[in-house]
Subunit: 134 residues, 4 copies
C-alpha cells in the first residue's frame, strides 16, 4: 500500500478544515516515503515562507521517522545530536509541524504544516492524521 | 485578483480530468505570479521525475510569460536565446507543458504539467486553463 | 516487496563479475524507487568521476523509468525533449549505463554503471539485472 | 597502500555484523582519503535520513582527520571552532559515528555510520575498524 491520491486528499482536507477552524491560513505538504512531493496546498493568505518550511517539515519527518519537534531538544548546543539541524542541505526542521504517516506500522510518507505558531501547526498536523492507524 | 484556492482547484480538477481521459498519470503544479507554489498534485502512478519538471514548467511560464514550448526554437544552438535554458539555476524548461495563467490581461501565475509526451502534457495544460479568459 | 539487501547484493555481484570479465574497473550504484542510495561500490582502479555519474544514471533511470540511453536522441537540439538534460539540478544522464529495476511490473529502483565506454557500461548494467523478471 | 576493495568490504562486514548484534539497521559509508565514496550499504530497514549523514560523517572524519565526536565540544557557541560546522557546504557532522581509517600511520579514508543513537553508531564504527592498526 502506497500513499494514494485518496489518502493524500483526505489528509489535506482534514488539515485544512482544522486550519480554517483556527482561522489561520497555512501551507500543507504531503510527501511519500522517499520524500517525493505527493500533494501540496498553500491556502489563500498563507505566508510564502511557509511553502519551503512545510515541505521541509515533511521531509524531516520522513528522513528521521519522527515528529519534527522531537529533534528540537536533541539538537540544542551540547545535546547529543547538536549539528543534525545542519545536515541534508539545510532541509531539516527541528520544531513542530511535521509528522510521519504510518499505516499498519509501515511508513507511507509525512505531512508538513506551516503558517501558524508551532502549537497551531502541530494541531493542524494532528488533525490531518486523525484517521491514521499507526 | 490573485490566484485563489478556488481557481487553483478548478484548474487542477480540469487538468486531472483530461489526464484521466488520456489514461496518463501526471504531475500538476500551479504557481502564483511570483513563482511561489500554490497547489500541486502527483497523480497515482505518475513518474517521480515529473515532480520537478512540472514545477519548473510552471516557473518558466511565469519567468517569461509564455508557453514553455515557445522557448524551444529560440534556445537551439545558434538561435537568439541560446543559453537561456541554462539560466535560473537550471529551472528553465523549453518544451511543452507549462502555460501562464492570465485573467483580464493580468498574469496570475502558471500551470505546469508533466508525465506524458509533450503533446499530452500540452493537451492537459490547455484543458486546465479552458475557462480562463486571457 | 522493496529493494532488499539480498537483491542489491546479487545485482552488484553480477555486475562486478561482468566488469572483471571485461577487465574494466567500474562504479556500481543501486538506488531504490525513490532515488535513495541502497548500495554502492567503486571497484579498485575505477576513475573517481564515475561515482557521481553511476549514481546519476541510477537516479535518471528512476526519475523517468527508462534506460538512460533512451533519453539521448530525445534531448538532441531540436528534438521533443531538448532541455530535459538540464532538469533535476544537472543529475540527468542521457547516455547508456542506467536501467530501472522491475519486479513483477513494479519499479523497485535502478542500477547505474560508469567507468568504461557506454557500450561496456551498458553490458555491465545488463549483466547486473539478468535474473530480474520485468 | 590505498583503501582497497578487500579492506572496504572487511570494514563493512564487521560493522554490519555489529549492527545486527545490536538489532539496529544502519547505513555504512566508506570514503577514501580524498573523500570519494568507495563503498556504501543501507541495511534493510535503515532510515533514509541516515544515507546523507553516514556519508557526511565519513567526509568529516577525512576532512579533519579525527573522530566526528571530537568536533562536538569545539563547535559549541563560544568555543574555539564555533562555525566550523557551517563549513564545507553543510557536510560537517559534529557527533559520533565517523572515524578516520589509518594504516601504519597513514590516512586511508574514513568510515561513517548512522541509524542508531550516537553511542550505537560509534560502537558500530569501532567494530568496523577493529583490525586496523593505527
Amino acid at each position: 500500500e502506497a500513499l494514494s491520491d485518496t489518502l493524500a486528499e483526505e489528509i489535506l482536507r482534514k488539515a485544512e478544515k482544522k486550519a480554517k477552524e483556527l482561522g489561520i491560513p497555512m501551507v500543507l505538504s504531503v510527501v511519500d516515503d522517499g520524500g517525493c512531493l505527493k500533494a501540496m496546498k498553500r491556502m489563500d493568505g498563507a505566508i510564502k515562507g511557509s511553502v519551503a518550511i512545510s515541505r521541509d517539515k515533511a521531509l524531516t519527518a520522513v528522513y528521521f521517522q519522527t515528529a519534527t519537534e522531537n529533534l528540537g531538544k536533541e539538537t540544542l548546543p551540547g545535546a547529543s545530536l547538536y549539528g543534525l539541524e545542519q545536515t541534508h542541505g539545510g532541509h531539516v526542521v527541528t520544531f513542530a509541524g511535521g509528522m510521519p504517516i504510518y499505516s499498519k506500522g509501515r511508513l507511507l510518507g509525512a505531512l508538513g504544516v506551516s503558517g501558524g505558531t508551532v502549537e497551531e501547526d502541530k494541531a493542524v498536523c494532528l488533525a490531518g492524521l486523525t484517521s491514521m492507524k499507526d
